[in-house]
Symmetry: C2
Subunit: 116 residues, 2 copies
């Protein structure tokens, strides 16, 4: 459903810790896209609601009540997360269920890893 290929498509082209060596312009552009998607409080809350929901997924109908925002705004935010490769959606009848794509989060997590 996501138009853009997520970074996780191939492990080989991504991503050792950024503390190891300078990121290339391409790498930083791709990573920044994902971090930017997470750089909004509403989207972060949406993500955490989805991820922690029973069964590891949630339909939009489970999400909207938590926010004092209109449907189109929630849709827009979900779209940003989807296009960043962070979540994916699946239609079931009239409902759309979203789940987190764990590999993207894991990739981000490992990029941020420092020598402890």
């Amino acid at each position: 459903m996501s138009k853009q290929l997520p970074l996780v498509a191939t492990e080989s082209q991504c991503c050792s810790p950024l503390t190891r060596e300078p990121l290339s312009e391409d790498q930083s552009a791709e990573l920044a896209r994902v971090f930017k998607a997470l750089g909004d409080p509403v989207r972060l809350r949406l993500l955490s609601l989805i991820a922690s929901h029973a069964g590891g997924e949630a339909c939009v109908c489970d999400l909207t009540d938590a926010f004092d925002l209109t449907g189109p705004t929630i849709s827009h935010h979900l779209k940003v997360l989807r296009e960043a490769g962070i979540i994916d959606g699946e239609r079931r009848g009239t409902w759309i269920y979203y789940r987190v794509l764990p590999t993207t989060l894991q990739m981000l997590s490992s990029v941020l890893m420092t020598t402890a």
Copy 2:
């Protein structure tokens, strides 16, 4: 040097994996601030240049040549990273040396951790 207290100030108020339970509005606002700071390619590259530099720190003079941007723009980006609690700076004579604050990156990394 950072005006805002970074999230890492107390371990007790932050931050279990966001897949575990929904983030509060406060938590998401604070986290989004840090992710947003990382959500720019220039800032990501600056961060990786600093982190991977010999001795784990770099002066601004080591950084500026890697970008086709003016000094004020680099300063602005460094300020964003600093205020997000990601880097810290120290003046040594006419030079300012920046280093990464590893606890912030570690905190972000663990927030993004999923059950593998």
